[in-house]
């Protein structure tokens, strides 16, 4: 479903931050991407959620060759990808529930249903009391949970999370991991970048490690 072949990436004229990346993610699989800070985890995820383009190599997403897919077809592909950004990327002027509702709203779903669904999701991540709160009034962990709810509301085929448990306590961390596993059981391919190796032990998943822009496989499933 997602295939990277000899992918390299650089920012502008800088050095390659990703080199010779090769992997294939099957539909419904679960992956961790580990590696020290600066190894290139976020950069690799940016390629996956179609924010950046590789400087070389071939990326195939949902059967589409990204080098030849016209720009106007990308929004439809992006809607199949849920992203938890490392810095959340919540919209500060919208309430928590409006942030979560956004991905469904832009696809033109019935607004009442969207709001209802967004509310349920926020309850599920323990934010039932904060539906109307602005992100600025939320703690780091609460923002993170809003971001996760927004990423999963569209039932994406691919869920990409960049350090999604970085700001929450271990109990909430395992609860969020549980949410990702639920999504995975429903058929979503999950990729989680983390430098927190304690997350790895509770979940059966393949583990990819990045070091200096090169990818190796610690365990394959």
């Amino acid at each position: 479903m997602i295939r990277f072949e000899n992918v390299g990436m650089r920012y502008g004229m800088g050095p390659e931050v990703l080199r010779d990346i090769n992997f294939h993610l099957r539909p419904g699989s679960f992956h961790f991407l580990t590696g020290p800070s600066g190894a290139g985890k976020s950069s690799l995820l940016k390629l996956m959620y179609l924010m950046s383009r590789p400087s070389r190599g071939l990326i195939t997403m949902f059967g589409h060759n990204m080098a030849t897919t016209p720009r106007r077809k990308l929004p439809a592909l992006r809607r199949r990808i849920g992203v938890v950004f490392q810095d959340f990327h919540l919209l500060d002027h919208l309430s928590a529930i409006d942030n979560v509702a956004l991905p469904l709203r832009i696809t033109g779903f019935n607004d009442e249903k969207v709001v209802e669904h967004a509310g349920e999701l926020l309850k599920w991540v323990g934010l039932a009391e904060r539906l109307q709160a602005r992100p600025a009034t939320l703690s780091g962990g609460e923002k993170q949970r809003v971001a996760i709810a927004r990423a999963v509301i569209g039932r994406p085929s691919l869920l990409v999370a960049d350090e999604p448990t970085g700001n929450v306590d271990p109990a909430m961390g395992s609860r969020l991991m549980h949410l990702f596993q639920e999504m995975n059981k429903l058929g979503t391919t999950v990729v989680i970048a983390t430098h927190d190796v304690t997350l790895l032990k509770d979940v059966e998943a393949s583990v990819m490690a990045l070091e200096n822009g090169r990818l190796s496989f610690l365990s394959r499933r």
């Binding site: 179609l50 924010m51 720009r71 106007r72 992006r78 500060d92 002027h93 409006d98 509702a101 832009i106």
Partner: protein
Amino acid sequence: MDWRKNLLPDHRASGQYLPWVIAVMVYLATLAASAGLTVNKSLGQWRDDLTRNATVQIASARPDSVAQQVEAALKVLRAAPGVEKAEALSRGDLVALLEPWLGSGNVSNDLPMPSLIEVTLAPEPAVDFKALVSKLAKVAPDARMDTHESWIDRLITLARTVQAIAIGIVVLIALATVAIVVFATRAGLAADQQVVEVLHLIGGQDTFIAGRFQSHFLRLALRGGIVGLAAAATTIVMLARFTSELGGSFVPKVHISPFEILILLAVPLAAALTTMITARITVMRSLARIT
């Protein structure tokens, strides 16, 4: 409440001054347009007045022949097809014409004055001035006919110049508006870069994102346009009062017909449309540059 309306935060960077700028632009453009319209209409009025009149002037070194020449000229004129009326002005009429310049009582009785015949032309048929002038020359060798033609030509040139200037001003205002809206949209895009990025990454189409900016700027422009139009309307009404009080036949009368009201209403609408389309194109172009 439609969620789309709140998708962009309040534009501190671009929202505050834009309606005022648009208001000023609409005010100036509306005044320029109405000046152009007024001149157009006055031109028609002046032309009617002037083409329906001609003067024959008889000045001679031998004053004793003048009275007889006037009589002969009047006969020829009254017989000519297309002439409705021909009247000789009395000395009293001439004195009255001169008094505004010379002061009342200052026109001495022995001041030599030409004799003037005022000719009123019928709308139909057109007078054959060449034939008329040659006939006049036979019976009244000292007669000179003045058909105001050079006056009319000069008035037309003046009116056309004023109109060209008015159109030029409207075009310049439109161009300046486009430039200002481009800058305001870019400022808005920069201020809302985070929002744009999020909308883009969760799969928002360029047209959707551009649509948000477009309707935001449309609202600002309509607000400004209404203020500008109201100010222009006030100015025009004041001018209209003023000119009708003056009442001179040569001061252009500011009188607005329903058709002209439509044209003037079109000014703020055109400004709003220009703003909306400019904002859309600006956003679409800048989005096309990101992946």
